[in-house]
Amino acid sequence: MLNIMEVHETNQMIEQEKLDVRTITMGINLMDCARADVDETCEAIYGKIVRYAKDLVATGESIERDFGIPIVNKRITVTPIALVGAACCTTTGDFVKIAHALDRAAKTVGVDLIGGYSALVSKSMTPAEELLIRSLPQALSETDIVCSSVNVGSTKTGIDMNAVAMLGHIIKEIAESTADNDSYGCVKFVAFCNAPDDNPFMAGGFHGVTEGDAVVNVGVSGPGVVSRALDAAEGKDFEFLCETIKRTAFKITRVGQLVAQEASKRLGVPFGIIDLSLAPTPAVGDSVGEVLEKMGLAQVGGPGTTAALAMLNDQVKKGGIMASSYVGGLSGAFIPVSEDKNMIDAAESGCLTIEKLEAMTCVCSVGLDMIAIPGDTPASTISGIIADESAIGMVNQKTTAVRIIPVIGKTVGEMANFGGLMGYAPIMPVNQSDCSAFVNRGGRIPAPIHSFKN
């Protein structure tokens, strides 16, 4: 039978250490909503989303009450819209209409974000995919809660450099179209390499074409719990440190598994995966940076950071994998600069640079995330950053991503504020060396060799 200390430990995690389930995300297939006419397509999309997800928020809230665990976000992902709209969209305006339909549907059911205004162009773009990408500045500035992603590369296909070159310009245009709001539109857009089909987190979540008609995926969180557990590991060796992280990750993930099964049962929708990610928030004590500093770093970003993060990421997976029947999505430690108090402080003091963050992304999910850069950064430089990050993912057979915000009208030393869970970030300096002749060559970078791995 349960004892009082175990019960106390769980409630302590929830009340003091900010243990929560970060998101319950319902994936919905929209392939069957494609019509020859764009307005009819929008109507079908709106109808299906509202029909499938009408009880999502209420179900999430009732699980919160029954178990006493906060479920911070309820979200929806849909089939990449470039596929759904391919038959009926002939202009960027047509795609924007679909974005509005998604926005309306998501607001009707009361979720906080909807993802999947996406295109998968890892080898090259179809005309519809190119149109969707070109529609992004208008779509993301006119809608409130629609999130978008573009997969520009994969280990099997290489990197579509035409898309990468185009995205540099598109990201700048998104930034300009939302300039009065610290270029907030860019917060809702991610460029991926090796994008997973079952990611419950935003802005990069979409319902992959390999998925069924509907699915429930759950993203867990808990850097605060890991951080508190590490207090007991001070001065101890790596074995003790790893064991502590593993045990904690196991406990966190079991809660996610319980919530996922319960949500699946109550909604009558199959359970997909648990995403084992340590997802920070800007709140004090809910920081991945703090976990790394507790391991013995004076400040995140200094020497030792990559090794500490690699170990953290690996132990979280080792502890979490046994706790869940199906693990997927991104599964790792997130390092979004603006959403992590200790990372914000390190970026502000200059200890954490974009180059160090790039190195960190080699060993964890998911990539250069929520990084604010000067608004006058050239489009080709942004493309160069996306190409670098994609190359890391392509060669290392892992997911990498770039969510970067060129904040129009601001420069190094100033602060961008995105509000709520998106947090705030100091504008970080970017290497000024020109790479335009490289990114603008056109064509694609071939897939890497899959043998001779030395």
Partner: protein, 90 residues
């Protein structure tokens, strides 16, 4: 059997258990086990209860007990047992 865990945390005072148990008996919630201890100077009580024959919805019990806690000046939580067993039992 429909087990839930009720926890009470706060300053010790006369009649906490009595008032909680009165509420539970009024709504046919059966108490299976009670334990209490002092953690970090605070009174901690845990009850394992069975809600199978309760005459109100589980979320009503959760809300009522929280309100009762407010009146007494302690924090009362009522949670389904699975959150604890899933975390602490393989």
């Amino acid at each position: 059997m429909d087990k839930a865990i009720i926890t009470v945390v706060g300053q010790d005072t006369v009649g906490i258990i009595a008032r909680v148990c009165t509420y539970l008996s009024e709504h046919h919630v059966n108490v299976l086990d009670i334990s209490q201890t002092i953690i970090d100077g605070f009174f901690n009580m845990m009850m394992i209860v069975d809600c199978a024959n309760t005459d109100v919805a589980f979320e009503t019990v959760v809300g009522d007990l929280e309100e009762l806690g407010g009146q007494i000046g302690v924090r009362i939580r009522c949670q389904r047992e699975e959150i604890f067993t899933s975390m602490h039992r393989v």
